[in-house]
């Protein structure tokens, strides 16, 4: 059963590109080339390359190296929640 679950999660996985619209809505800019450093393993990855799980009431972005949950996003009718404890930092170019 655990294997079935793991296989299904892999099959349903997309990447950060698939949630770029939601990220752009929140941050007001394209975030797919923003680098996220994982608070778990300290590796860097472009947010477009994070593992994304979208088949749930919210979105979960995970580190492609260690699978640590870097960010979770939940949208309600009145608010957007962004929890990003799994990110050490985000690095993006200034907007000029």
């Amino acid at each position: 059963m655990e294997n079935d679950q793991a296989d299904m999660n892999t099959a349903l996985m997309v990447d950060g590109n698939a949630v770029a619209g939601d990220l752009q809505q929140i941050f007001g800019r394209d975030m797919t080339v923003t680098v996220a450093r994982c608070a778990g393993c300290s590796r860097d990855a472009a947010m477009g390359a994070l593992m994304a799980f979208t088949h749930a009431p919210g979105i979960v972005l995970r580190c492609p190296t260690c699978q640590n949950a870097i960010a979770r996003i939940v949208q309600t009718p009145t608010a957007i929640y962004l929890e990003a404890r799994g990110a050490a930092f985000l690095r993006m170019a200034p907007q000029s």
């Binding site: 892999t10 099959a11 349903l12 996985m13 997309v14 990447d15 950060g16 590109n17 698939a18 949630v19 770029a20 619209g21 752009q24 809505q25 007001g28 800019r29 394209d30 797919t32 080339v33 472009a46 947010m47 477009g48 390359a49 979208t54 088949h55 907007q95 000029s96």
Partner: protein, 247 residues
Amino acid sequence: MVQPVLEWQAGTVTAIRPETRQTKSFTFALPKWMVHRPGQHYDVRLTAPDGYRTQRSYSIASAPERVGELELTVERIPDGEVSPYLHDVLMLGDELEVRGPIGGYFVWDVSLGGPLLLVGGGSGVVPLMAMLRHRAAQHSTVPARLLYSSRSGEDVIYRDELDGLAAGDRAFEAFYTFTRQPPAGWTGYRRRIDATMLAEVMKPFGKRARVYVCGPTLLVEAVANALVLMELPIEQIRTERFGPTGA
């Protein structure tokens, strides 16, 4: 570069073209059209009478040179929430809520140069087609090769256009592989994309290749891992994965 606020807008369907049994291309006229970069996508949103909303992300198929218009090629996922509506219900003249263009990671334009290796599986060929259409519209001579995996001959999207592009352009070549039912008389590849196949197709490019891989997660993982083992610099590899819902 400051980006405009991402807004939902109502696109009007101006053309619907069947591509294969499972895929159709939809052309929209957009009131607030913006130039896109090949590889970007649009979000499509449906709202039910009771207010329930659902959205999916679809790659842009058209070149940015087609001003005012947006073409999306969508695979019909039988138990999907959005694609069956697009395939079975949406008609010419209908309006659909879309927002975009979105994304800056999986993009290529002629200013980035090459040589360009595009690797696609199934409807993962769609953003790669936007790159090829843009390259052709710009009369670019950047060497380009497409390696495209399909289940059967009938599942190849854009076959005629791809063969036409290859016939008229010595710098572009398309390679096909079939994983289930190759066309009658097929003498080319008939297996999943593997390291041997990749090495053969990218041989003239060597480690200079700029590679874009789009398709189901398992295909993307296999190709990306093979490229890394071939010691291609990781910054030259861009991937886009989609799950079974055609996200």
